[in-house]
Amino acid sequence: MNAMKTNPSTPGPRDGIHVPADFAADLAARASAKALSAQWTPARTVTLPRWRRILWTAASAAAVAAGVFMFRPDEQGSANPTPPVTLSADDAWTALDEGQVTLTDDELFELAETHGITTL
């Protein structure tokens, strides 16, 4: 017996998830519309000087690769620099999720893509 073939007369995907064409088309339309409309949403604040962003990104990449995460230095803190805070991946995600870290989507995405990170 093949555990995957639930109905030999109408072979479907091995995972048993049979997505109707009309549902897929509707989902695609909704997803596309949401994405294309979101392009006008202003990016979250990024005011750090470029060299600081580069340094932070490099440090974060190394930290993530090591299983931890670092807060970016306070954007207002150039006069009184705040030392980096090292977090577990779960705590870092919570901080990102709650908006405690001003990491743009592009930064996060590029970081993950560059280092093949699939989970945080």
């Binding site: 555990a3 048993g16 064409a21 949401k34 994405a35 392009q39």
Partner: protein, 171 residues
């Protein structure tokens, strides 16, 4: 700078929405949440459209975004508010999911795997992705993937055998 090609993006979404929904559903195990994952992933795909470096197929890159979004959504969700008993056993809750006893047992066996093995198994067995694409999606070596897949299959076969279910066909 070349302008974003919204037509190309829309065509990509139309072509892969069903697959992306399946990928998301297998991770988040909830019909509505899977749709949210696809939509949120599309926002990120379009937002990062110009940063795509072309080191893999655009569809592979997008697949990775969807999978990452699903994993993120799963981690964000609090179990008590999103999962019922069957979902705790790794069974998707969707009107489009159909399973007999054997497939249900397979899902339960897959759910018991460590995350890396589970992902490799799902991409390889359910979506039949070549190892090269899986390596691109998960950001790891093909050798490591093959080892993960081998271990996953061995564990699943053992669990199904204990339930007196014949082994599935895994290449």
């Amino acid at each position: 700078m070349q302008a974003k090609d919204s037509a190309e993006f829309t065509e990509l979404v139309q072509r892969h929405a069903a697959l992306w929904y399946r990928v998301a559903l297998r991770v988040v195990l909830d019909h509505a949440a899977a749709q949210d994952v696809v939509q949120d992933a599309c926002v990120k795909i379009w937002g990062a459209w110009d940063s795509f470096r072309g080191t893999s197929a655009r569809s592979t890159w997008a697949y990775r975004v969807v999978l990452n979004e699903a994993l993120t959504a799963k981690r964000r969700a609090r179990p008590t508010e999103t999962l019922d008993a069957s979902q705790h056993a790794g069974i998707p809750d969707s009107p489009y999911f159909e399973a007999d006893a054997a497939l249900t047992a397979l899902y339960q066996a897959v759910a018991s795997l460590p995350e890396r093995q589970r992902l490799v198994f799902q991409l390889r067995y359910f979506d039949e992705l070549p190892y090269a694409d899986i390596a691109s999606v998960l950001g790891t070596s093909e050798g490591g993937l093959k080892a993960n897949y081998h271990h996953a299959v061995a564990k699943i076969k053992k669990q199904l055998a204990e339930l007196n279910l014949d082994a599935f066909e895994a290449s």
